[in-house]
């Protein structure tokens, strides 16, 4: 086990530690874990949820014959911003049939980035659909792999029918500075969305 250094241990823990999370979504193999690893202070970790496939939506899974259990894996990273503030980055499970896990992941999240690979644009439709129907600020980050077809941002927006209100940024998921820019854009978009909602809820005059 990696116990913290003695210096870390002698420092008292703050009374209240707040944690926040940003969700990184996208199709299988689009580079979500690479993106998380580019900024995480720890090697991305994997947590697994076990579920009974046939039991979904059924009250008592034990009554279902031939039930089989499936493991859904999620990769995540951590950025300790201050003694009392930690940001977690969660990658969604690649397979879109695990939507129920996505619902748990996005609950309470600051916002989300949908990572898109221009070589497999159609893989982005399901995640984009998902976020269009959820109340969570999100943006689209186009991962520019080496050798991937380069498109203008507006071409990608048009091809994927991304609404004008959703920001679109180009990135390289392997590079820390590029990923940092994506995450900053997510938070700025979340703030702008929150301010707009607040202003709508409290009209002036």
């Amino acid at each position: 086990m990696d116990f913290a250094s003695s210096e870390e241990r002698t420092r008292p823990h703050p009374a209240e530690i707040t944690s926040a999370k940003i969700v990184v979504a996208g199709g299988f193999g689009v580079g979500k874990t690479t993106l998380v690893g580019a900024v995480s202070e720890i090697e991305p970790l994997t947590t697994e949820a076990v579920m009974t496939v046939a039991g979904q939506g059924i009250d008592d899974a034990s009554k279902v014959p031939g039930k089989e259990s499936t493991t859904v894996a999620m990769d995540f990273g951590r950025i300790t911003m201050a003694d009392d503030l930690i940001l977690y980055l969660f990658g969604t499970p690649g397979q879109t049939r695990f939507w129920f896990m996505w619902d748990e992941l996005i609950r309470g999240a600051v916002g989300a980035a949908v990572l898109v690979d221009t070589r497999r644009l159609t893989d982005a439709f399901a995640p984009l659909d998902y976020f269009e129907n959820r109340h969570l600020p999100y943006l689209v980050a186009v991962n520019c792999f080496d050798g991937a077809p380069r498109y203008e941002p507006e071409e990608v927006r048009e091809a994927l029918a991304i609404p004008a209100r959703v920001p679109l940024v180009m990135c390289d998921a392997r590079h820390r500075d590029s990923v940092k820019t994506v995450l900053i854009s997510v938070v700025e978009h979340a703030m702008a969305t929150l301010v707009a909602e607040h202003e709508r809820a409290t009209p002036v005059g």
């Binding site: 913290a4 994997t46 076990v50 951590r78 503030l85 309470g108 600051v110 940092k180």
Partner: protein
Amino acid sequence: MTQPHDPRGNLVRPYAVTRGRTEPSRDIPIEAVLLASPAAVQESRFAGHDKYRIAALCEPKALSLAELAAHTRLPLGVTRVLVADMVADGLLQLHSAAPKTGFTERMDLLGRVLGGLRKL
């Protein structure tokens, strides 16, 4: 962190360690962090192997529910049941996840996260 693979492997049904319970006594967000005092770590020795491991992990450094599941190699749902019990028993201190309501509170948090990202 390297840890030998759980020798019990798949022979133990995931929820055996929670004595069959699948519902946690309280809902704990996946990113909520937990801390254990040195005294709580000692006390948790009597609470079973898995709870002791969890307490020991949370003593030097605040860890999220997700990190605890990853380090113990227990499924997320199982870890949540154990952690919820430990919070109820006073073995773990639960820290809050991001505020979900209140414009000012949420803006303050977003501002702090933004500042933290810019400093990276």
